[in-house]
């Protein structure tokens, strides 16, 4: 009975294949194991993975422009940004509609801040325009109201635009005032007759009932509705004659008269608010940032800018981030290097001392962890300043002249010194735990074979401690690349890191998209270095202990 004659799948006792019955047996185990780790998994997902995913999303997300100015951005599609002219009047009309709605919803300032990152001045332009756009369409409202008192009352418009069943519900709600306000419903068929006005009224009604939380029966209709109504009536819609609704007669009467109405030139009106509205720069920025997703933040992060002709390098004096990235990487390398140089001998001594003494010294190594990071960094500020302890000592020793004290703080030197000190334990601990596992008999064997102390160390001990150096270096390097408190305090202007810039964009300039893009690049750099490290040294060669 040999296995080689059996070609089909192995069968279990009950006739199912062995594989599937094994899977069934394992599934319960796996499920139970999964349930055990579920709390942690959820915690990690919620507090770690989700924020990172959100950050990555924010770095390309740009929906605010097309969400706030949907009609304008759509109309802008045809505009040639390279041409010398400003966009067509229809675009300005669309802008009026968008801005009107955005202003009512108080979204225009947010969009202004967003676009201000790309072109300074846009923020104040939007803020200023918001207030004035509300008055812009009142020319039409006034003319409608002059024509007939009917147009003055919001209730009449509600009756005209609202569906009969909604009107009944609204009337009932008005008297009872108990439940939620019945949601506005547009009169069916009206949108074919009065497309723009219906849309405008719908937006107005939903906003008033929803975000604004007011009673629609008592609200005052927007000027926007009248300009939309004018546009609809000027086109003399075919269905108007057959329309049967309260106010249909007034509507027909108005339609007969709108030809004589004064009209508004929106281009001129916007120009009157601010002549920036007829500058191509503003429109180019709006067009460039119309898509829902943008690489603009990333281009910004590498000192480029998005133009109509594609990405371009920024001017020399505007460049900042590449220099900061390089400085961050370089200084992290220097910090890692000095941690190795200082930490290796300490770890060696710790690993080779009798346990009692080693434990005492280990506490000294860990002592910095017991004091606040801020305290330690501030202590360095005191130590390193020109009149500080270190300079005083150097002067006292005669190594430095009193009038040429060393600048050790508020520059790269300060950052490197303070961060080396702060991150040293992260180098010493993995080194120590790896060295602890190297039996002293290796060194003895090497010496018995004729090696001098140095050869024995270099050829036998050191190679075995490399995994510790690798683990320590990865820890220190990755920690320092993202450090920001210490460089902020002791780094001055030349010793700050990219993370200081990220912090600035998160808390001061509120340009979260740019902060996210910078963070994403930092993450990519770290992952790239990790990958390179794996290729060159091998990640199996990283040991945190035993």
């Amino acid at each position: 009975m040999s296995d080689s004659t059996h070609t089909g799948p192995m069968l279990a006792a009950d006739g199912t294949t062995l594989k599937s019955s094994l899977n069934r047996a394992l599934r319960r185990q796996k499920l139970r194991a999964l349930m055990l780790i579920a709390p942690l998994l959820i915690f990690v997902l919620v507090t770690f993975i989700a924020p990172i995913a959100d950050m990555l999303f924010r770095s390309v997300e740009n929906q605010i422009v097309s969400d706030t100015l949907p009609r304008t951005t759509q109309m802008l599609g045809d505009w040639d940004a390279d041409a010398a002219d400003i966009p067509a009047p229809q675009v300005f009309e669309a802008l009026y509609v968008d801005m009107f709605i955005a202003t009512e919803r108080k979204l225009h300032t947010r969009l202004g801040s967003r676009l201000n990152y790309e072109l300074t001045g846009v923020s104040s332009l939007f803020r200023k325009s918001g207030r004035k756009v509300e008055d812009m369409g009142e020319v039409y409202q006034d003319q409608f109201e002059d024509l007939d008192k009917f147009w003055k009352k919001g209730a009449n418009l509600n009756a005209l635009f609202g569906a009969p069943d909604w009107q009944a519900a609204q009337a009932a709600w008005d008297t009872s005032d108990k439940k939620a306000q019945p949601k506005f419903k547009l009169r069916s068929g009206l949108e074919t007759v009065l497309p723009q006005a219906s849309e405008a009224f719908d937006v107005y009604a939903r906003f008033t009932q929803g975000e604004d939380g007011k009673n629609l029966s008592k609200a005052k209709p927007w000027a926007l509705i009248y300009s939309a109504l004018y546009n609809d009536l000027v086109a003399q819609p075919a269905g108007l004659a057959a329309l049967d609704a309260p106010g249909a007669d007034e509507l027909r009467a108005a339609a007969a008269r709108v030809g004589d109405f004064d009209t508004v030139d929106f281009t001129a009106a916007f120009k009157k608010i601010d002549k920036d509205w007829v500058s191509q720069d503003v429109w180019r920025v709006i067009k460039t940032y119309s898509p829902r997703f943008t690489n603009g933040y990333f281009l910004n992060s590498i000192d480029m800018k998005k133009t109509a002709d594609g990405p371009q390098m920024r001017a020399e004096n505007e460049q900042l981030y590449i220099k900061l990235f390089i400085r961050t990487l370089f200084m992290s390398l220097v910090i890692t290097g000095s941690c190795i140089l200082l930490g290796y001998p300490v770890a060696w001594i710790l690993a080779n001392l009798p346990a009692k003494t080693a434990n005492l010294l280990m506490i000294l190594v860990l002592l910095p962890f017991w004091t606040s990071l801020l305290v330690r960094t501030s202590a360095w500020k005191v130590m390193l300043q020109q009149q500080g302890v270190i300079n005083d000592t150097l002067v006292w020793l005669g190594l430095v002249a009193d009038d040429s004290r060393l600048a050790l703080i508020n520059n790269q030197t300060g950052t490197i010194i303070a961060m080396t000190h702060i991150l040293l334990p992260f180098m010493i601990l993995p080194l120590f735990s790896v060295m602890k596992t190297i039996p002293p008999s290796y060194l003895r064997a090497a010496k018995s074979l004729g090696a001098t102390n140095w050869t024995a160390f270099w050829r036998v001990y050191f190679p075995q401690s490399v995994p510790g150096i690798g683990a320590g270096s990865i820890l220190v390097f990755i920690l320092s690349i993202g450090y920001y408190i210490t460089p902020e305090i002791v780094g001055g202007t030349t010793g700050t890191f990219i993370s200081n810039r990220i912090a600035y964009h998160i808390s001061s300039s509120l340009n979260w998209g740019l902060a996210a893009a910078l963070g994403a690049i930092l993450l990519a750099v770290v992952l790239g270095l990790y990958w390179a490290y794996d290729r060159i040294v091998g990640i199996d060669n990283v040991k945190l202990g035993g």
Partner: protein, 362 residues
């Protein structure tokens, strides 16, 4: 083998903590080519002695000489002593060939000569095919062979081995014991070998130094050690042994009459006793005990004994008896056709030749 001392310990003492002497007054001298084993219980100071010889520990007092020269101030790497460690201490980040190459490289030996020597050394331990392996890819026995090859590859005259076979199973240990002795004699090297396994010590060595309490208790060839232990520690430690305690009644014609604690009298050969009245421990090997009266001298003293247990062990029978109030007295008899198989409960008389029974220190 010339008899000039090659390695010499003279009044060597060692203390780690300044309070307790781990090695007390060690005197030892061995000629070139000798295979000497230090045997003793764990903690008796064997490793310490070896480390002092290798140079990793310094003697607190006394002189260690190699080839007539004091080596107290020579650093380990200049002593040219080969060493095999208990855990082998093969460098894990080097291949077998690189491990063997290491001592040659530090001696600045040319590449081709190095390769020749490595090949010879590996072939000597039948590991010629493993040059490219890492130590972790070898079994314990193979690692031991490589460690041996590495200690021998730079042709030292003296090789120290600290319990090299301690971690191996019995069969492998026996094979390697044979290989090591064979190699040592073939190459004419001097070996100081440390073990706590008496069989290993007896089968491998030219001489054995029995350690206890930081002193050499006896230094002798294996047969003398077994047959003529000089004190009760050695008698107990080497081989199986029966002890009975008592007081010397008289010493006459090189024979002592000992009265055991229960009053019975036996004959013994006085070794560490000189006058009547001294307390003594007499020691008799299980295979020298006789219960067939015909084979004893007519005037020999005998003891009555009760058989407690009879164990059939194939080549021999092992019988446990109650003698003079102790029930751990063992006798061994050969499985011969005419041999009597004793039964538990049986009462017998036992005795021995006076020269087989040694009256030692109490």
């Amino acid at each position: 083998m010339n008899n000039e001392a090659f390695v010499e310990f003279e009044r060597v003492q060692k203390s780690y903590d300044g309070e307790n002497l781990v090695v007390k007054d060690l005197n030892l001298s061995l000629p070139k080519g000798e295979f000497l084993t230090m045997l003793g219980p764990s903690g008796s100071g064997k490793t310490t002695c070896l480390m002092m010889l290798a140079g990793f520990e310094t003697a607190t007092h006394g002189d260690i000489r190699l080839n007539g020269q004091s080596i107290n101030n020579i650093p380990p790497h200049k002593r040219g002593i080969g060493m095999v460690f208990q855990n082998y201490a093969l460098f894990p980040h080097m291949t077998v060939a690189e491990n063997l190459s290491f001592p040659l490289e530090v001696r600045k030996i040319g590449k081709s000569e190095r390769e020749d020597k490595i090949k010879v050394a590996l072939d000597r331990v039948q590991m010629g095919n493993f040059a490219g392996r890492r130590p972790a890819q070898l079994s314990g026995g193979q690692q031991q062979r490589i460690a041996l090859a590495r200690a021998l590859v730079f042709e030292p005259e003296l090789v120290l081995m600290d319990e090299p076979l301690g971690a191996l199973d019995k069969q492998l240990r026996e094979t390697l014991q044979f290989e090591i002795t064979h190699l040592a004699h073939e190459l004419g090297i001097t070996v100081v070998y440390v073990t706590h396994d008496q069989t290993e010590a007896l089968t491998m060595s030219d001489r054995v130094a029995v350690f206890d309490d930081g002193r050499i208790q006896q230094l002798a060839p294996p047969d003398k050690l077994y047959e003529e232990p000089e004190n009760s520690f050695v008698a107990q430690f080497i081989g199986e042994n029966n002890t009975l305690e008592g007081v010397v009644k008289e010493i006459k014609n090189g024979s002592a009459l000992v009265q055991l604690d229960d009053g019975s009298l036996i004959d013994a050969k006085p070794i560490n006793v000189s006058k009547p009245g001294e307390r003594t421990r007499v020691s008799i090997r299980p295979e020298r005990v006789e219960y067939n009266k015909d084979r004893l001298r007519a005037d020999a003293h005998t003891l009555s004994a009760e058989v407690l247990e009879f164990i059939y062990m194939g080549d021999i029978f092992r019988t446990r008896l109650r003698v003079a109030g102790r029930d751990d007295f063992v006798i061994k008899t050969r499985n011969a056709p005419d041999q009597v198989r004793l039964k538990p409960g049986q009462q017998i008389e036992i005795g021995w030749l006076a020269e087989d029974c040694r009256a030692l220190d109490a």
